[in-house]
């Protein structure tokens, strides 16, 4: 029990704390509101459920760094429980004789006791990891743009948060031990009892003073720290779940937001400065815990490029802290993102693989920032890698990034059956979207032929658009040329709807086409059912429509998940199933399925030189495939095929790189 003076002091302290909390939190909210658009708060019940899930499972951290994640669960669950513990502690101190009665009380105390120790162990682990071990995954390479205050700030911040947690929980633990000593033991608090043993001999007044002091330090730390929350990464505790809760809904992980080009009042396209980013992208830096999990999975960073998605978020955070008053006061922030947040080379190194989006435990979206910066660079400043100009011109004039003017049906010539166009076969059931790669790239033409051969063998009633097909605009979009994408999307939607493709199935052997047509065209009124060719083929095999040659057993095959099939669109099983059906013994690379590592072609990288780094993305990935000991590296994307084939040639390895469709076509009974 607190004395009357203490109670009055406590009420005053709470008042002061709440006042300053309101001041700093409204600053944080005002800064977020400087961003574009709105946070999404519609459909509140499912959103709250999302937030709760993120809070409890901690954004699914256990998928990576399992040991660290385990210790983090200790702290996180302990802290969630401590909301209750703190409330009970205050009630006990205020209301004479208050306690949770009976067995419930016993269990409550037992859990508090266990979680207290869990938090202390967890926090010790993190402090040792950051300050004694100096874990390499927490450092950022020095070719990456980093805010001048970040390097030291990250350490101070960690120390502050660690100290706060240790202090709060540690003093609460000590206070409980004094209470246990005063009451002569509590079997339901084994750890507190252990600590109480040496305190037992102290005079009662000393024990009482000990409890009072500990209580004030434990609760006082909370009251002192809460207003300071927006200035530390500890805010991730609630901003993380809030971030998941208020994100815009997306049809696919990395589906980009459209721009309204018809609205003449819009003067800013993409993001040049911080406040050009959307509000949800301004929540990100407050949520960021600086764990660099995103950096660890980034194909650009891990191959030595100057891009670190975590550095981007960290820079935003330190920039905001520096300018918090000015930003909250509505002052214009003129400093370009490219000067302090991320370097131009880093912006152009992103493969849009989406790994950073997928892995971030607090729902951050660094890839979207990068895409917004590309948009402003192309649409406003016209500054981008010179090689992309060729791809843009090709898309404008020839409808493909290769600047090819050849017949889009040339790939069909070597086939011993005719591939009908939609004019020749208007009653098709499946539209085979060949894609620019399938039409023009010699390697991908093989894949297109294999796909057509399998469809033909299964008696599928299909057709192609032939010379009416043009690029989906994926390259333009990922390269920031949203206007060009917009024009191509409208043109393709018109073509597709004219042949009734919106009423039928579309099959694509290119995941980039699948993603663009299947998930992104919807924003422009194009709604299509697009299947990856492996999805259709496994269906056909399952239905007994393909006779596969049992004797021609495939050897050991490892499948490389394409980013735009797997992570972005969630298709992992169909290609594996197809391979198994075709008689392959499947091996897995270390990084597979949603952890797959990019081939290096995505995000318009295919059309430019790789940014300078220490290794090539494709060779890094290929080496991983080779390490499985498989005979065949199976791919499901013409660009992956190209990247892996190049790496295979460079490595002079005996491995074979082939698309799943090619493997199935080879296994067809003649």
């Amino acid at each position: 029990m607190l004395s009357l003076v203490e109670k009055i002091l406590f009420v005053i302290a709470v008042g002061v704390s709440l006042y300053y909390t309101q001041v700093t939190f409204s600053k944080m909210i005002t800064v977020v509101q400087r961003g574009q658009g709105q946070l999404n708060l519609d459909h509140l019940p499912p959103r709250l459920w999302t937030a709760l899930r993120a809070l409890v499972n901690q954004g699914g951290i256990i998928r990576h760094r399992p040991v660290t994640s385990l210790f983090h669960y200790f702290i996180a669950w302990g802290f969630i429980y401590y909301v209750l513990v703190n409330a009970v502690d205050v009630l006990e101190a205020f209301i004479p004789g208050f306690h949770i009665p009976g067995m419930l009380g016993n269990l409550y105390r037992l859990l508090a006791d266990l979680l207290t120790v869990a938090v202390l162990i967890g926090m010790t682990y993190f402090l040792v990891r950051r300050f004694l071990v100096n874990s390499a995954v927490l450092t950022i390479r020095d070719n990456v743009t980093l805010h001048p205050k970040a390097a030291a700030g990250m350490r101070t911040d960690s120390l502050l948060v660690g100290g706060f947690i240790w202090g709060h929980v540690g003093f609460r633990f000590l206070g409980t031990a004094f209470l246990v000593a005063l009451h002569g033991g509590d079997p339901w608090q084994p750890f507190a009892s252990l600590l109480a043993a040496p305190l037992d001999g102290l005079p009662e007044t000393a024990q009482l003073i000990g409890w009072h002091t500990s209580w004030w330090l434990a609760i006082g730390l909370i009251l002192a720290f809460v207003p300071y929350f927006p200035y530390t990464k500890h805010a991730h505790l609630f901003v993380g779940p809030f971030n998941f809760m208020t994100r815009p809904p997306r049809r696919a992980l990395g589906a980009l937001d459209p721009i309204n080009f018809e609205d003449e009042s819009i003067e800013q396209f993409g993001a040049t400065t911080l406040t050009d980013l959307s509000q949800t992208q301004l929540v990100d830096p407050f949520a960021c815990i600086m764990c660099s999990r995103c950096q660890e999975v980034c194909p650009a960073y891990t191959t030595g490029k100057p891009l670190s998605p975590s550095a981007l978020e960290i820079n935003k955070r330190y920039h905001i802290w520096d300018q918090m008053a000015a930003l909250a006061g509505g002052e214009a922030d003129e400093s370009p993102l490219l000067e302090w947040a991320i370097s131009p080379s880093a912006v152009w190194a992103c493969t849009t693989c989406g790994a950073c989006l997928d892995v971030c435990p607090v729902g951050n979206k660094p890839m979207f920032d990068i895409m917004d910066i590309r948009r402003s660079q192309v649409l406003m400043a016209s500054e981008f890698p010179a090689e992309l100009k060729g791809a843009f011109t090709g898309l404008e004039r020839n409808g493909n990034p290769w600047q090819m003017t050849d017949d889009r049906l040339a790939w069909t010539k070597p086939l011993d059956f005719a591939v009908p166009t939609v004019e020749e076969n208007p009653d098709f059931e499946v539209l085979f979207w060949v894609g620019c790669a399938g039409a023009f790239d010699p390697g991908a033409q093989e894949i297109a032929r294999a796909t057509a051969t399998v469809l033909h063998a299964a008696g599928v009633n299909f057709a192609v658009l032939g010379n009416d097909e043009t690029c989906t605009g994926d390259t333009a979009r990922r390269a920031g040329n949203e206007y060009l994408f917009y024009e191509m999307a409208l043109g393709n939607i018109e073509t597709l709807n004219a042949v009734g493709a919106d009423q039928k199935k579309i099959v694509a052997s290119c995941p980039h086409c699948l993603h663009t047509i299947g998930t992104e065209y919807a924003d422009y009124g194009g709604h299509y059912t697009v299947l990856h060719h492996t999805q259709l083929i496994s269906e056909l095999i399952g239905a007994g429509r393909l006779k596969l040659n049992g004797s021609n057993q495939l050897e050991k095959v490892a499948f490389h998940d394409p980013c735009y099939l797997g992570r972005h669109n969630g298709v992992y099983d169909a290609p594996r199933l197809t391979l198994a059906q075709a008689g392959a013994t499947l091996l897995e690379m270390d990084r597979n399925r949603s952890d797959s590592f990019c081939c290096g072609a995505g995000g318009a990288q295919m059309w430019k030189e790789e940014e300078h780094g220490s290794a090539a993305v494709n060779e890094t990935r290929f080496a991983e495939g080779r390490a499985t000991g498989a005979d065949v590296l199976a791919v499901g994307c013409p660009f992956c095929a190209r990247m892996m084939t190049d790496a295979n040639t460079n490595a002079g390895s005996p491995m074979v790189v082939q698309d799943v469709a090619q493997l199935v076509a080879a296994a067809l009974q003649k």
């Binding site: 192309v378 649409l379 406003m380 400043a381 100009k389 004039r397 020839n398 600047q403 002079g652």
Partner: protein
């Protein structure tokens, strides 16, 4: 500096293979800006950025050539003028040059006229040269680099790309210059500039506006007539892919090029 850039709208000859004969392509088919003229615009913009002044685009063509002028405006030019009149149809390079020269005189007080090396359709390599003669201005063709320019002293020194090498030439301004692709890398217009350009007015001048007679321009004013245009015959090419590692295939390539006496 007052700079005038001559740009021509041409058929996209890269699209020739798409089942079209020459005359059809000349009459219809997708249109683009003559590729060399993009380099001329870029050089004009760079000079303006360095020395101030303005860049005016001038094109003689059919009414739809305004699209080509808009593309040039989107690259950053200040103004554009289209010379268009049914009387201009069927003009040879001299007749075209007469109209262009008259328009340049109408714009007046220019320091430099920049044109492309040649067009990808007519390919006369002559129009700009004839413009220079008609204007009695200095004529600098095949420019690969501007070494020095002094708008106040009205002098220019350029490097010309000849078959046998490079030649440095100085002259007085005003001058008419044609450029080759080595001179720069043309910029890609941003959407903001495309939107701004779309709102700009492009005046259209007729033969009468230029103070010329119908007999001086178009087919009537031309010595050269086109009776027929054919596509070049397609050449059968053989493709061979050299297998092996990068080093092996590079070596094999060099051996083959030596054997074929190409290098």
């Amino acid at each position: 500096m007052k700079i005038i850039v001559l740009i021509k709208q041409v058929p996209d000859t890269a699209q020739l293979s798409a089942n079209m004969n020459g005359l059809q392509l000349m009459a219809s088919g997708p249109r683009i800006i003559n590729p060399w003229d993009e380099y001329a615009i870029e050089e004009g913009l760079k000079l303006r950025e360095a020395h101030g002044g303005s860049v005016t685009l001038l094109c003689l063509g059919t009414p739809d050539a305004v699209e080509t002028l808009k593309r040039g405006l989107a690259m950053g030019a200040d103004e554009a003028v289209l010379i268009s009149d049914p009387q201009l149809a069927g003009g040879d390079s001299l007749a075209t040059a007469r109209a262009l020269a008259a328009a340049i005189e109408k714009i007046g007080a220019y320091d430099l006229v920049i044109a492309g090396r040649s067009s990808i359709d007519g390919g006369n390599f002559a129009t700009a040269v004839q413009v220079a003669a008609l204007l009695a201005a200095a004529q600098l063709s095949y420019v690969a680099a501007i070494k020095a320019i002094d708008p106040a002293a009205k002098t220019i020194t350029v490097e010309r790309l000849m078959e046998a090498g490079r030649e440095t030439v100085s002259s007085k301004l005003p001058a008419v210059m044609t450029v080759v692709k080595e001179i720069n890398e043309p910029r890609y217009p941003s959407f903001m500039q495309i939107r701004k350009a779309a709102k700009k007015d492009v005046p259209v001048w007729s033969v009468a506006d230029l103070g010329l007679d119908a007999g001086q321009v178009g087919a009537a004013g031309s010595q050269v007539k086109w009776s027929q245009i054919d596509l070049p015959p397609t050449r059968e090419a053989q493709v061979e892919i050299l297998e092996g590692t990068a080093e092996e295939s590079a070596k094999a390539l060099v051996d083959r090029l030596l054997a074929e006496k190409i290098i």
